[in-house]
């Protein structure tokens, strides 16, 4: 989601850089002390019309992503599809190998002895579903991502410890540096800082 902003800023740079160049700005970041403050700040920013923004917290905050306009997650659907294909694949493997590729007559029982195939079908359903859940979470979150502009803010170290942050990106159509700065300050932030690319 940040690629477009990176691209915009890159285009704005002169082709032959001069000795000093203004560093590109990624966005403005407000710092809060309590999670309720971040939640209400996110609500007000959304009501104000800001869309390209993100909240950061050291633990999951109920309803924050929804407040920022991200209603649903694709992870459950991908997990369901993964689990179903794992189960169907496992049954097919057993049916095809035991019934066709390597048929063994055990006491005259049917080759498609389905009760015996349940344990492996069950286990592979769970296995593929779990792997799908992990992969979906990582891929949709674009992780691993070693660097991100928000890490350039020194205070951001505390985002994984005890502080809560709201970052409004430059690429937001409503972004105006001074107005947005004042707006963030009015939300009760203990500090507002600039996020450099």
């Amino acid at each position: 989601m940040n690629n477009s902003s990176v691209a915009n800023v890159a285009v704005a740079r002169p082709e032959h850089p001069v000795a000093y160049q203004e560093p590109a700005v990624y966005g403005l970041m407000a710092e809060f002390e309590e999670h309720e403050q971040l939640l209400s700040a996110a609500k007000r920013a959304y009501a104000e019309g800001y869309r390209r923004m993100d909240g950061f917290s050291p633990f999951p905050i109920d309803g924050l992503a929804e407040t920022l306009g991200h209603e649903t997650s694709l992870v459950p659907l991908i997990t369901l599809v993964g689990g179903m294909s794992g189960g169907l694949g496992a049954y097919f493997m057993q049916w095809y190998s035991m019934g066709h590729l390597y048929p063994l007559n055990v006491g005259g029982r049917p080759l498609n002895s389905w009760p015996n195939f349940i344990p492996v079908t069950f286990e592979l359903t769970i296995l593929i579903a779990a792997i799908s859940a992990l992969t979906a979470m990582l891929v949709l979150n674009r992780l691993p991502q070693p660097h991100h502009p928000v890490f350039n803010v020194p205070e951001f170290q505390r985002a994984s410890i005890d502080r809560f942050f709201l970052c409004i990106e430059v690429s937001d159509p409503k972004f105006e540096r001074d107005r947005t700065w004042k707006f963030l300050e009015s939300l009760g932030a203990c500090k507002v800082s600039e996020v450099l690319e």
Partner: protein
């Protein structure tokens, strides 16, 4: 105190986000008891060396170094396998099932028990492979396109075991790692040396606590809990099929799956207590792992202990009620035969001593609780010995009867596997956050909102 008179504190009143991060992260980053840790690690690493030597000698000489024979082909290897995999059940039970049941007291022990699960499953997985005789051909168990067009026999419980145990390990690992990611980010941001920043940073995968990331993370975590819940129940059921699908008296019983699962959770909780009680004292974690947590674990042990006792009673009852001469002979031999003393030791360790847990004084006293848990751990190992050996050593034909005596290598491998388990445990305590920091913060936030 709650209305039932139990200690109610889940997390100390004075905790703040920063304090828990420092306290838990500090154990991994600064390591307060370096000398004590090193002394303990030397001992358990020595035991791990013993494991390597026993396995090396086994690979050199073959399974003949063990006390197994025909008819007792299973011996210690399978006893140890079932014991370890049982211990590995508490972790996912605590993390997944108690998460779905909104049991908040699990928060401060789930990371630790998940790690314990992984290490126990690693130990468990070793034994069937070593017992193969030619462990280097272990891949014959897997469905792969081999040149002889052979397939594993999918109707066999031993093949189900391969799938159950490997799935259990993989899913437990994923579940543990997903929970660990945000905490690795905390350690990355708290670390002062470059090397630590890089190592924890690699593990954290660039986690930055974004709201959208948390949403998907929580979604995946909850789904994994939902997937792991039936998985925990299935794994020991499949292990019990190894026995109950066979026709042997003492094994061929429909009570085995639920009875094995209850026993697994029983021994798993006992092992958690055996590990966490000393750690809680040494690292002064009483404010996070409160008396209430210990008390609740003791209650789970009391309940599952009675389920296991019900299993023992039903085994004896069904042997009599079936009217089957072999079943009755097996039961009589189990209690009064040459291994009778082992059976009665099992009854004492697993059914009598744990009744002390009815007393709240025992449940809230960590030393007493440690000793009861130790009794259960040994008792559950003895249970598997009774199931494996007493059933096998006298089956249908008297000419096929024999005795089983473990050799020094049997004991060395068992002790060595404990060394492997504890070595991994020591490394985990030293280098990773053993309590979930982000979930502890959630508890604090809930307390601040007055929801706890």
């Amino acid at each position: 105190m709650t209305t039932l008179g139990y200690p109610a504190v889940l997390i100390d009143e004075r905790e703040t986000y920063d304090r828990v991060s420092d306290q838990i992260g500090g154990i991994a980053l600064k390591h307060p008891h370096q000398k004590l840790w090193l002394a303990g690690f030397t001992i358990v690493f020595g035991m791990f060396i013993l494991f390597c030597v026993s396995v090396g000698w086994l690979l050199r000489r073959g399974v003949g170094i063990w006390g197994i024979n025909i008819p007792i082909a299973w011996g210690f290897a399978i006893v140890n396998f079932v014991w370890w995999i049982g211990i590995g059940h508490a972790g996912t039970f605590i993390s997944a099932i108690l998460l779905l049941l909104f049991q908040k007291w699990r928060t401060t022990i789930n990371r630790f028990t998940e790690a314990m699960t992984l290490f126990a499953v690693i130990c468990a997985g070793m034994f069937p492979l070593l017992h193969l005789g030619r462990p280097w051909t272990f891949y014959f168990l897997l469905p792969y396109p081999d040149t002889m067009a052979l397939w594993p026999q999918f109707r066999s419980p031993l093949v189900w075991d391969v799938f159950a145990v490997s799935t259990y390990f993989t899913v437990s690992l994923i579940f543990w790692y997903v929970g660990l990611m945000p905490d690795l980010a905390t350690l990355r941001d708290k670390a002062v040396t470059k090397w630590k920043r890089i190592s924890y940073g690699v593990g954290a995968l660039g986690w930055r606590g974004s709201a959208l990331h948390w949403q998907r993370h929580q979604s995946a975590y909850l789904l994994l809990a939902g997937l792991a819940t039936p998985l925990v129940l299935s794994v020991h059921s499949v292990v019990s099929f190894d026995f109950s699908v066979a026709q042997l008296p003492g094994w061929h019983s429909t009570i085995f799956p639920p009875y094995f699962v209850a026993g697994a959770i029983y021994s798993g909780f006992a092992m958690v207590l055996n590990l966490i009680i000393p750690i809680r004292r040494i690292y002064a974690l009483e404010n996070l792992i409160t008396v209430r947590t210990l008390n609740n674990m003791a209650n789970v042990m009391l309940a599952t202990g009675w389920m296991v006792a019900y299993g023992y009673i039903m085994e004896a009852f069904m042997a009599w009620y079936s009217g089957d001469v072999f079943e009755m002979a097996m039961m009589k031999n189990r209690a009064f035969g040459p291994y009778g003393w082992v059976f009665w030791a099992l009854m004492a360790l697993n059914c009598v001593i744990p009744q002390l847990l009815w007393s709240q004084k025992v449940r809230t006293n960590d030393i007493a609780l440690f000793l009861v848990a130790l009794s259960i751990n040994i008792g559950m190992w003895v249970e598997r010995f009774v199931i494996v050996v007493t059933s096998l050593h006298r089956d249908f034909v008297p000419s096929n009867w024999a005795m089983y005596f473990p050799t020094v290598w049997d004991w060395a491998t068992l002790l060595g596997s404990v060394g492997l388990f504890l070595t991994l445990q020591f490394l985990f305590i030293r280098y990773l956050p053993m309590i979930s920091i982000s979930e502890s913060r959630e508890l604090i936030a809930q307390r601040k909102e007055g929801r706890l």
